[in-house]
Amino acid sequence: MTFLGQALQWFLDGSHWQGDFGIPNRLFEHLTMSGISLLAAAVIALPIGITLGHFGRGGNLAINVSNVGRAIPSFAILVLAVQLVGIGALPAFLALVALGVPPILTNSYVGMREVDPEVREAATGMGMRQRLILWRIELPIALPLIMAGVRTSAVNIVATATLAALVAWGGLGRFIVDGLSQRDYAQLFAGALLVALLSTAVELGLAAAQRLATSEGLRIQKYPLEAEVVPTPQAMIA
């Protein structure tokens, strides 16, 4: 109980809320580093995944990149990046981008492939050009899955940005790493709590964004489609 009191006291200490080493600045660092890395990962992964999915090529590459990505520990990517470019913000950025690419790439490929070929044919039959089909038909239908990939990437990136404190960069992970090395458990616990809150908020926020990205037509379709796919024996008799 005394320990939780210490953690609370740590939060109440005004000096932890101001300056370069304060919570607001660390949060800002964490968010900007994660945001820029996610953006870079999306800029790399989206065109590749969407193009491969649109033309139906390179499926093995697009899907296996995720499996390989899972096998490489993110901690190892970060430390390897330090060996390549030194310590600081750059290795953290490189590692986070490398971590963010696979889920977006795989999901955008799968999302494009999942588009019903009949829908594509119907669009062609209505006289739509390839480019228009891509923008007006395929992308809106694939968007929920693409957003799911972005969400997975974002959560991974925010989580791993915590480890970036190990390579002499800031962010909320600073409190955890410093707390660990100074045996300052109040700071450690407080930092961990902040990171946990941030990642949960990111997850929930992006889940809401994913729902918003689902086009209205897809939302209405969902119910009758599902009912059609799995008829229960009782329903078939009735």
Binding site: N67, A71, P73, F75, A159, Y185, F189, A192, S199, E203
Partner: protein, 221 residues
């Protein structure tokens, strides 16, 4: 303290075989600990789930869902004040990640067993327990094994992070490389961890083929 400068990085090769030759016991211990941590982390939840899932499904889903979002280092850090820098802290963290993956896949697999098949089995006189073990579980094996594979590969990666709280298996080699700015242990730890993940994944895929002889020859996803 942890992140030292880039001193000596210039003439440090990626691999120094003499270091590896002199540190075989260290590497072997790290590998063994890595495997142990992984086995406990994947095995424990399986035991728990086998014990009884269906009734606890709702609460387990929401709790593990939250746990899965919390970054590993933060989760370990939240536990340290209570359980210290111990293997218990590492395992609580690792198990909470595998729980979600395993439960989700087992529930999906079990739910996908057609109701007609269950009814047919009961109609043939199967007792509920026999029906569970001889009908439901075998049919759910592909989904369950997929869960075990993802959980195992993910855990092998996460174990490296536990190096920061004094455990770590191969992660301790990676951390050593970071602290001393010395590439060889880093490369050895990373490559062995990746190799372990691939071997485990291929091995589990083989095991899956072995226990589902009826699915051979059909297209697998």
């Amino acid at each position: 303290m942890l992140a030292t400068g880039v001193l000596g990085a210039a003439d440090d090769p990626w691999i120094r075989w003499d270091w590896i030759a002199g540190h075989i016991p260290v590497i072997r211990d790290a590998l063994t600990q890595h495997i142990e941590l992984t086995l406990i982390a994947v095995g424990m939840p399986l035991g728990l789930i086998a014990w009884r899932t269906r009734r606890l499904r709702g609460p387990i889903f929401s709790i593990t869902g939250i746990l899965y979002t919390v970054p590993s280092l933060a989760l370990f850090a939240l536990l340290i004040p209570f359980t210290g820098l111990t293997i218990l802290t590492a395992e609580i963290g690792l198990v909470s990640y595998t729980l979600l993956i395993l439960i989700r896949n087992i529930v999906v697999g079990m739910d996908a067993v057609p109701q007609e098949v269950r009814e047919a089995a009961l109609g043939m006189g199967y007792r509920p327990l026999a029906e569970l073990f001889r009908i439901d579980i075998p049919l759910a094996v592909p989904a369950i094994m997929a869960g075990i594979r993802i959980a195992t590969v993910t855990t092998i990666g996460l174990v490296t992070v536990t190096a920061l709280i004094g455990e770590g298996g191969l992660g301790s080699l990676i951390l050593d490389g970071l602290i001393r700015d010395f590439k060889t242990p880093l490369v050895v730890g990373t490559l062995l961890s990746i190799a372990l993940a691939i071997i485990a994944d291929v091995g589990l895929a083989g095991l899956q083929r072995l226990v589902t002889p009826w699915s051979r020859g059909r297209v697998r996803i």
